[in-house]
């Protein structure tokens, strides 16, 4: 099966000149798959981390501490209004070089965080800043009277949050959240700039060595169309599963 596919692409190259090395050269294929894996790792970890950052930030913003609220506000404003690429550089080069090195098991000096970890950190903060705003607007959209009703039934503040406010807020902000998470998936390509071997990086390596820019561009296009498509599909499934009959519109 695999041999047949490889043979077909080899033939395609010999007869038409379309050189899809990834599909018959195992070395290129492995690089491509590794890049895809790295993109998935970046996307999944930053999505999760940014959701946590968003939830905690939104909670703090509705909390009593003025100082903490101000800090979260500042964080949101700064990260929303500066280029994510510069944020990555600032973290990786700026802070990364200021942090002390650690000694690895074999006695070598290594930075505390490698480039992949810095990319995950800064991308999570970037998307998390948007998520804070999104979650906050969701929580604010829950009517005060609904919370009052929960209180009148004996719910504590925490239980009312858990069973009434958060489920409703999540539904309100889901469309905006979808957008932001899809955007985050696209933004993971910026990790390329600090040499994180994700899909774009791997594909570019392949095309610079095999001189097949057009073909690899096509592969790149299909790859990202597929990844974004899958995420859109998942989020729409989720949105549909959470839809409340007769609620809103």
């Amino acid at each position: 099966m695999i041999e047949a596919v490889q043979a077909w692409f080899q033939r395609l190259y010999e007869t038409t000149g379309f050189n899809f090395t990834v599909f018959y050269d195992p070395y290129d294929w492995d690089r491509y798959v590794a890049g895809l894996r790295m993109t998935l790792l970046l996307a999944l970890s930053t999505i999760l981390a940014s959701l946590v950052i968003g939830a905690v930030g939104a909670l703090v913003q509705s909390g009593p501490s003025r100082l903490l609220r101000g800090l979260v506000n500042g964080f949101v404003v700064v990260f929303r209004n500066t280029p994510p690429l510069v944020q990555i550089f600032f973290f990786y080069f700026g802070l990364g070089t200021l942090l002390p090195d650690v000694r690895t098991a074999d006695g070598l000096r290594a930075p505390i965080l490698n480039n992949v970890q810095w990319a995950i950190l800064s991308l999570s903060l970037f998307a998390g800043a948007f998520n804070v705003e999104i979650f906050r607007s969701g929580i604010e959209a829950v009517p005060k009277t609904t919370i009052e009703a929960a209180e009148a039934l004996g719910y504590t503040r925490f239980k009312a949050y858990r069973h009434v406010v958060l489920p409703l807020a999540l539904r309100v902000c889901l469309p905006a959240l979808n957008n932001n998470l899809i955007n985050l998936l696209k933004t993971t390509t910026l990790a390329y700039a600090i040499a994180v071997p994700e899909t774009l990086y791997a594909v570019k390596q392949i095309w610079s060595e095999s001189q097949n820019v057009l073909e690899m561009m096509l592969v790149l296009l299909v790859t990202y169309a597929f990844l974004v498509g899958v995420l859109v599909w998942i989020m729409h499934r989720w949105e549909r599963a959470l839809r409340i009959p007769g609620y809103g519109r």
């Binding site: 003025r66 609220r69 101000g70 506000n73 500042g74 404003v77 700064v78 929303r80 209004n81 500066t82 280029p83 994510p84 690429l85 510069v86 944020q87 550089f89 600032f90 080069f93 700026g94 802070l95 070089t97 200021l98 899809i182 696209k186 933004t187 993971t188 390509t189 910026l190 390329y192 700039a193 774009l200 570019k204 820019v213 057009l214 561009m217 790149l220 296009l221 990202y224 169309a225 974004v228 498509g229 859109v232």
Partner: protein, 287 residues
């Protein structure tokens, strides 16, 4: 570019009197005004990182703050270039996007489908990937009627940025036109307006206002995305920042203040746009 001798530098404050602490004290005294102290924190963050390094540096080595001040004119020129690219990309992208959006709303079967597909592709691909596409697949010069027109890298990058702008503007146009009630179309039709007349004279003027906030949002995004041009070899602010860093001997402690300066520039440019957009949104909502 030759670096001026250290003695040419403007005199800066003694390390003792920390001018950057002044805004910090101000920020603290202010009654937690929403989002207001944020500018200052950025400055402070920058300063906090810059100061210890400053203390380490000997007399011959410039402090990070001095380096930033010394190179600020050059870096700001780079920033102006980013702004220029973003404005051009926005102009091209908006023109193309309005056309694409109208194509999605056109009658017939083929044109709207095709336009929709184009929109989806350019909206959902990563901007950096689109940039690579344009940089590698568009030739460095084109021949029009026997005249060779060179396409410099920065122009190609501008095209690269205008593609996602086009797709996003197309979506904005489509959404806004769809939100105008059908009765407006019916009323125009009964007054014997043609479809084209209805669109340009009745529908689009109505939704222009509604399109403004999301359009400005797209602009802020594209302005921040222009730094990606440095990845594909176009000289702009980030490229210059890296060059400045190398020119100052590649000291690691200079990274944070230099990139911090870039952050600050973009923040000061994009934050007012963001606030203005939010204000417009609120005003249109209450109507």
């Amino acid at each position: 570019m030759s670096a001026p001798a250290p003695s040419d530098l403007p005199p800066s404050g003694r390390p003792g009197d920390l001018p950057v602490l002044l805004p910090f004290a101000l920020a603290d005294a202010r009654p937690a005004a929403r989002l207001r102290p944020a500018h200052l924190w950025l400055l402070c963050g920058l300063a906090v990182i810059a100061l210890p390094a400053w203390a380490q540096g000997g007399a011959a080595v410039l402090s990070p703050l001095e380096v930033v001040i010394k190179w600020a004119p050059l870096l700001l020129t780079g920033f102006a270039f980013n702004v220029a690219i973003s404005l051009m990309a926005m102009a091209i992208g908006t023109a193309a996007g309005v056309g694409l959006g109208l194509a999605m709303l056109a009658e017939g079967r083929v044109l709207p489908r095709v336009a929709w597909c184009v929109t989806q592709v350019f909206r959902n691909l990563p901007w950096l990937v689109l940039l690579f596409f344009v940089m590698f697949l568009v030739p460095f010069q084109v021949t029009v009627f026997g005249v060779r027109v060179p396409l410099p890298d920065w122009l190609k990058a501008t095209f690269g940025f205008s593609l996602p702008v086009m797709a996003n503007v197309a979506e904005i146009v489509r959404g806004a036109v769809r939100s105008v009630p059908d009765t407006q179309w019916e009323a125009a039709e009964s007054l014997a307006f043609s479809r084209r007349q209805t669109m340009w004279r009745i529908i689009l003027p109505q939704c222009a206002k509604r399109m403004l906030p999301p359009w400005m949002n797209v602009y802020a995004l594209i302005a921040m995305a222009t730094v990606q041009a440095s990845i594909v070899g176009v000289t702009e602010m980030l490229t210059l920042t890296a060059q400045v860093h190398a020119a100052e001997g590649g000291r690691p402690e200079l990274f944070a203040p230099l990139y911090g300066f870039a952050l600050l520039c973009f923040f000061l440019y994009c934050y007012p746009i963001d606030r203005f957009t939010a204000a417009l949104e609120r005003r249109f909502e209450t109507r």
